[in-house]
Amino acid sequence: MHYIVGALRRAVDLILSLDPAVMEIAWLSIKLSAISIIIAAAIGIPIGFILGVYDFPGRSFLTSIVNTLLSLPTVVVGLAVYSFISRRGPLGRFGLLFTPWAIIIGQTILATPIVTALTMNATRSLDRDLQLTALSLGASRVQMAWLLLLQARFAVFGALVAGFGRVIAEVGAAMMLGGNIEGYTRTLTTAIALETSKGEFAFALALGIILLLISFVVNILVHYFQQVKHRGAYHGNNSPRRGFA
C-alpha cells in the first residue's frame, strides 16, 4: 500500500521535474513500440484480412496457428531471436544483438500475431454483402480489402491498440535482446525490472505509472486522429443513432 502512495508521489515528481534520464528512456520506449507496431501492421493486417475474408483449404488450421502464436512468451521470443542474431547465429555478423534493432525485431514478432488475429476476427464478422458491393462497383482486390478494412476500422484500430499495448508493456524480449544498456537500450519496462530487482519498488511503480500515462496520451491522440465520431452501422433505416432500451 505504502508503495503505491510513494510511487504516485514519485511519479508526479519525475514528470514535473522532466528528469532527463527518464524522458530519454520513455522516448526510446515510444519509438521502439511505434516502429514495431508499424511493421506488425504491415504484415499482420494483410494476413489477417485474407484469413478473415477468404475461404480456402487450410484456413482453419492457419487460424489455429495464429491464435496459438498469441501465447508466445516474451522470453521465448527473446531466446529464439537471440539464437539467430547472436554472434554464433546465422545473422550474427550483422551485430544486431544488444542494439535497439534487436528489440524491434523481438517486439514485431510479438505484435504481429495479435494484429493478425484481431484483424482476422474483425473482418470475419463483416457482412458479406459489402464484399460483393465493393467488387460490383469496380474495386480491385486491393481496393476491396481497403474498403472492408475501412468498414471494420474500429476493430482494426483496436487490433493496433492491443498490439501497441503488448509491445510497450513487454519486458522479456527487450531485456534479452536489448540488454538493458543504460542510455542505449534501456526501455521503461527494463528499467522497471531493474528497479524492482534493486528493491526500489516505489520508483519502479512510478515508472510504471509514467508508462501508463504515455499509453493514455498516445491513445487519446490516435483517437482524435482517427475520426472520433462513431457513425454506426452500414445500411439504411431502422437504426436510431443512440443506444436505448
Partner: protein, 245 residues
Amino acid sequence: METILHVEDLRKSYNGLTVLDLDALSIPRGQITVVMGPNGAGKTTLIRILALLEEPDRGTILLGGQPVPEDEEQRLALRRRMGVIWQRPALFAMSVADNLGLALRLRGWNRKQIRAKVEEYAEMFNLGRLLRKWPNELSGGETQKVSVARSLIYEPEIMFIDEPDTYLDLRNRHLVEEMVASQVERRGMTALMVTHSRQQMSRLAANLVFLQAGQVRWSGQVDSQDPKNWDEELKALLGLAEPSA
C-alpha cells in the same frame, strides 16, 4: 440484334442442390431485358454469375462474343464496365456523398471531377439534402435511391438491377425507371432487370426471361404495349388468368 452476353450450359449448385441450370441464354445489347420468376428461382444467383462475382460450377459465358478471361486484371477491366444494383442495398459506412463517388474514386477520378459528378447525380435523384448524412441516418427509400444512383453514376455498359422498386414510393419508382431508361436510350446501356411487377415489366421490357426453379421457362421479345398479344404460355406463367393483383 447484337448479343452482348451469352451463356451456355450454365450450372450452379449449393450443397448439392442445383439452383441454376440454363441451357442457353442471350442478352441483347442496348435494351432492357426483364427477368421474372418466383422467389428462389435463381434470379439473384444469375446476376452474381453474369456480373463475374461468382464462379458457376460449369458453363460458358461470352461477353461481346469473347469468353471471360481467367486473368484477374482483365476480369477487373470487364467488371468495371458493369454495374449491379443489389436487391438488398448495402451502403458503406461513409457519407452519402462518399458512397455516391465511391466507384469513381475506385477508378482514379480526381476530387473535383468526382464532386461535379456526384452533384449532378444528387440533383437528378433529389439527394441533395442527404449528401452529408451517413447510411444509418437514412430511411429505406433514401437508402435505395442512393444505391441506384451510386451504380448509375459511372455509366456502366451493362447494368444488372435486382428489384429496383424496393422501399421506393410511387414517385421514386418512376424516377428510377426513368433514369435507367434514359441511360439505355441515351448511350445504349444494356440492362438486365429483375422485378416482380408485371406493370413495371410491361413498361420497360424489350425482352423477357422467365425463370423457374433455376431453369428458363420462357424467353423472348415482348410487346410491352399490349399484353393481349402475349404468348399464352407466358400469360399462364405470369398468372394472367387469375384476377390481377
